[in-house]
């Protein structure tokens, strides 16, 4: 009998199965993507940001082995007999099958098919959701990024331009240097002055032969010499100068702003808004995958535009006509005042039912093309309507023709189309 070793393995890594789990997810990528796409349709908007339970038909992940099938003659021993005696006959249940073999196999053609269900994390969920999608024009911005620097203070240096001179620190340095350099002499001066004072305060001897006048004179001249010496120490020297140092730090372009523009005029029903909301949320999640920090600006408009918070954006109702350009103008104004394109990746999504005051549509096209598209990474327009397009759509089409890289538009008729349309808008374009 051997000795027993007791080992504490709890601190060893868990997640030994991580690789195998990852292999599994990779193998069933297509299944999982489909489940994720379905989930997006069904989920309520507020809880989209969590993991997901994914189901795959068991037969697809089944590992086949040779085993017995149904049929033939089988005999099985079971426990728990109550009233049977040898020779009893028991009618087989309708349908022939019967439980004798105990191998309750599910039929492969879907009926009673059991599912293999498992959880994926939120990150995995988003990865699958946005698989093969990419943010358009990310490359362009990346190039720019290398030029986007911030200056950051990083201590002091002895060289620099006068504008960066730190007066207080320089003078403090000078003062210290003066004290350091003059210390010995000022001590001497103090001593001599004490002697001088002692001599001067001594009772005056009448006998000139014993007069202190010589000594006093000598002391005074020595003190004067030392003082002159001290005075020659420069008040401020080149080596005292301290400049504030700034270094250039490349600024990561991890901040993005997303503009949500929505028509809230009377013609937009709650269904329209829900569709729009789902679309905005997809965009938000997608951006979140790529950027650390995202600002969201909600602009709603009917005949005039207003920046509002999320709650008001989605749930308050308005009546009346529509002037889309009001929202575009407001967006431009906000960009100019708060989101410099040098620092921000700007994305915009506009949702509308296509209604607009006809005279306004050409104005919209013009504002977009001239003032907004040049500033943004990507502008997407979704028109939520099952009906024919109106003027606005055709104006926007012109914009799309001139800016195919940074402008895209699609039509959505019912909620099931949101995700496919979103995918179309952000499909990875072949390089």
């Amino acid at each position: 009998m051997g000795m027993t070793h007791v080992v504490d393995r709890r601190l060893n890594g868990k997640n030994k199965s991580a690789v195998n789990r990852e292999r599994f997810l990779r193998r069933y990528r297509q299944h999982i993507k489909k489940a994720v796409a379905d989930a997006v349709q069904k989920r309520s908007i507020t809880d989209i940001e969590r993991g997901e339970s994914v189901s795959i038909p068991s037969r697809d992940i089944h590992e086949p082995i040779f085993h017995h099938g149904q049929g033939g003659k089988r005999e099985m021993v079971h426990p728990g007999n109550q009233e049977f005696v040898a020779g009893d006959e028991i009618a087989k249940p309708e349908g022939g099958g019967g439980g004798g073999s105990g191998a309750g196999q599910a039929s492969p053609d879907g009926e009673g098919m059991d599912e293999f269900a498992f959880q994926i994390t939120q990150d995995e969920f988003l990865d699958f959701l946005f698989d093969d999608l990419e943010l358009p024009n990310l490359a362009r911005k990346k190039l720019k990024d290398t030029e986007a620097f911030t200056w950051q203070r990083s201590g002091f240096t002895s060289q620099g331009v006068p504008a960066k001179l730190d007066v207080v620190r320089s003078l403090r340095g000078a003062h210290a240097r003066r004290l350091g350099l003059s210390g010995a002499r000022r001590k001497k001066i103090r001593e001599l002055q004490e002697q001088l004072a002692a001599l001067k305060s001594a009772p005056d001897d009448l006998d000139p032969a014993f007069s202190h006048a010589d000594q006093i004179e000598a002391l005074e001249s020595e003190i004067a010499r030392l003082k002159a010496n001290v005075r020659r120490i420069p008040f401020i020297d080149e080596i005292d100068l301290r400049y504030r140092q700034h270094v250039k730090k490349p600024k990561p372009a991890t901040s993005a702003v997303m503009f949500c523009l929505m028509d809230v005029s009377g013609s937009m029903t709650q269904t329209h808004k829900d569709i729009a909301k789902r679309f905005f949320i997809l965009l938000y999640l997608f951006l979140k995958k790529n950027y650390k920090k995202i600002d969201v600006v909600f602009i709603r408009h009917h005949t005039s535009a207003k920046e509002v918070d999320e709650e008001e954006f989605f749930y308050s109702r308005e009546t009346g006509g529509t002037i889309v350009s009001s929202a575009l103008k407001l967006m431009h104004k906000i960009i100019e005042s708060r989101y410099s394109p040098d620092e921000w990746n700007i994305y915009a999504a506009q949702a509308s039912d296509g209604d607009n005051w006809n005279d306004d549509s050409p104005v919209c096209g013009k504002i977009l093309a001239e003032r907004i598209i040049p500033l943004v990474q990507y502008y997407s327009y979704v028109e939520i309507t099952p009906q024919d397009h109106q003027m606005l759509w055709y104006e926007y089409q012109k914009v799309m023709e001139s800016f195919p890289q940074s402008f895209a538009m699609q039509q959505i008729a019912d909620p099931a189309e949101i995700y496919p349309v979103f995918r179309q808008l952000f499909e990875r374009k072949a390089a």
Binding site: M3, H5, G69, E75, N81
Partner: protein, 519 residues
């Protein structure tokens, strides 16, 4: 169905003043060591011979990891283990499934995992069950002695994992995954049941790898050299009738490893690795009732001995007995929880009854088991543990008493009849047939279809023919075609599978599927 099992009763304590090792239910490493020491002393009293133990305390997450790699402490990477893991963690997180209290590895030293969540009585139960029960079974049972080499397995697993990882690097994850998928489909057909295999050894493997590479290539050349060129079919009927292999081979994986014409060396090595793992698990598949029964009998017996010695408290025993009763619970056939015979119950009942027959034999026992009734129980149980597998163990030791207690009965389901027939029950005329039927139920070749390599068309299209011998007309399950696709992937040429019942072909499977018009 607790009434079928003797109600656990606390034994009388010897005339010792109880001086329990501990009274609380929280465990510490010190306490685990103390309990282990005392359990070891009890085990020695009963002559249990074990490998040294290595007890590893792990967390629940780690237990799930261990679970998913089918009890291999080190495993190569494969998606199916990931699937297993997702399944386990899902069940665990929903609370549908408790994790196993323990996992024990047939290795030397014998590795047993204890979960940190267990209470102290549970840890003691697991130590008795795994470190002394299973451990002594691994060391003593003839199947394990023949088929596995406890001192080499860990090394071999490490070797296997590194080799597979190397292949993945060189040939890509997907290429390796394909081969592994196909091998896993045939893993149960990677063993020679009647030949003693050479022991597994990682060092030997590495040394031989090179040698094998050359040798196999030479062999292959010999086999295929005689192949006529296309359009030059060998018409000599005598030679065409000669089968290759001349005798049917049941070790399909071995046959493919050695004879598949197109496999690359690394692919053959991977087949070999899966085959060796199949070999390692082969004894476990045939001794589940015995192994679990033995371990349960000993945790029960050892902890009662501890109680007799005054080393554990009444509270400890109550908690232990509650777990014990749950483990050996057998739901009756008509219960919604019924899913076949619980191997823990059956094995525990037989071993316990063996002891009873030795100590308190009845007339019935003397009639049925003249050699056992009244004999030394420790010796008799050890003899039973060492020299049998489930099938022969049941045939040899299942007593009328246990059949009555478990209220066994057998049902015949013949697809040519409209009724199920009760063929035997736990009564005088029924005992022998019932025992035979139950024993047969644990015969591996009755549980799994009997499929052998029948022929390779060496002089023709190189196709491989497998032959299935049905028992009682039981056909192959619907997976057969899919498995055949895997065989086809490994073999590289057409593969046929025919079910031959008494000389007539009753079913055929082909890969690629044969066009009906082709005849």
């Amino acid at each position: 169905m607790t009434d079928t099992i003797e109600h656990p009763k606390l034994p009388n304590r010897e005339q010792v003043r109880p001086d329990p090792i501990s009274t609380g239910s929280e465990w510490t490493f010190d306490l685990i060591r103390k309990y282990d020491e005392e359990i070891a002393k009890c085990a020695e009293e009963f002559g249990l011979d074990t490998y040294p133990n290595q007890v590893e305390v792990i967390s629940a997450e780690q237990m799930m990891d261990a679970y998913s790699s089918v009890g291999m402490p080190v495993g190569y990477h494969h998606w199916s283990f990931g699937k297993q893991f997702l399944n386990t963690s899902k069940g665990y997180q929903r609370g549908q499934m408790g994790l196993a209290y323990e996992i024990v590895i047939n290795s030397n030293p014998c590795i047993a995992y204890l979960m940190e969540e267990n209470t102290l009585p549970m840890q003691a139960l697991v130590i008795a069950h795994a470190c002394y029960g299973h451990n002594s079974f691994f060391k003593g049972n003839y199947l394990f002695r023949t088929w596995t080499d406890a001192s080499a397995i860990i090394d071999y697993l490490v070797f296997a994992r590194n080799y597979v990882a190397e292949c993945e690097e060189r040939h890509g994850v997907e290429a390796v995954e394909e081969i592994l998928d196909s091998c896993h489909a045939l893993m149960n057909h990677g063993v020679d049941r009647y030949k003693r295999p050479p022991p597994i050894s990682a060092a030997e493997e590495r040394r031989q790898q090179k040698e094998r590479e050359e040798y196999v290539q030479r062999q292959l050349n010999d086999l295929w050299r005689t192949i006529p060129k296309m359009g030059d079919e060998d018409d000599d009927p005598e030679r065409r009738r000669q089968r290759y292999p001349s005798e049917p081979q049941e070790n399909i994986l071995y046959f493919i490893e050695k004879n598949a014409p197109l496999l690359e060396t690394w692919q053959r090595e991977i087949i070999r690795i899966v085959r060796k793992l199949g070999q390692y698990f082969y004894p476990q598949r045939q001794t589940q009732v015995m192994n679990e029964g033995w371990a349960s009998f000993w945790h029960y017996t050892l902890l009662h001995r501890m109680y007799e010695k005054g080393l554990v408290t009444d509270g400890f025993m109550l908690e232990f007995l509650q777990s014990h009763t749950a483990v050996i619970y057998q739901p009756p056939f008509n219960s919604p929880w019924y899913s076949g015979i619980n191997p823990y119950t059956l094995g525990f009942s037989i071993f316990s009854d063996l002891r009873r027959m030795c100590e308190n034999p009845t007339d019935e026992d003397r009639e049925w088991f003249p050699d056992i009734a009244g004999s030394d129980w420790v010796e008799t149980l050890h003899f039973a543990m060492r020299n049998f597998k489930d099938e022969s163990f049941i045939q040899q030791f299942l007593s009328p008493r246990v059949m009555r207690d478990m209220k066994f009965f057998s049902i015949e389901n013949d697809d040519q009849e409209d009724v199920f027939r009760v063929t035997a029950i736990h009564d005088d005329p029924g005992y022998r047939p019932l025992r035979e039927k139950l024993a047969r139920q644990y015969n591996l070749s009755y549980r799994e279809p009997n499929i052998q390599v029948w022929n390779v068309d060496v002089r023709g299209d190189r196709s491989l023919t497998l032959r299935h011998i049905p028992v009682d007309r039981v056909p192959l399950g619907e997976d057969a075609d899919e498995v055949l696709r895997h065989v086809h992937r490994l073999w590289g040429f057409d593969v046929h599978l025919e079910s031959v019942d008494e000389g007539t072909v009753v079913a055929e499977h082909h890969c690629p599927p044969r066009d009906l018009n082709d005849g």
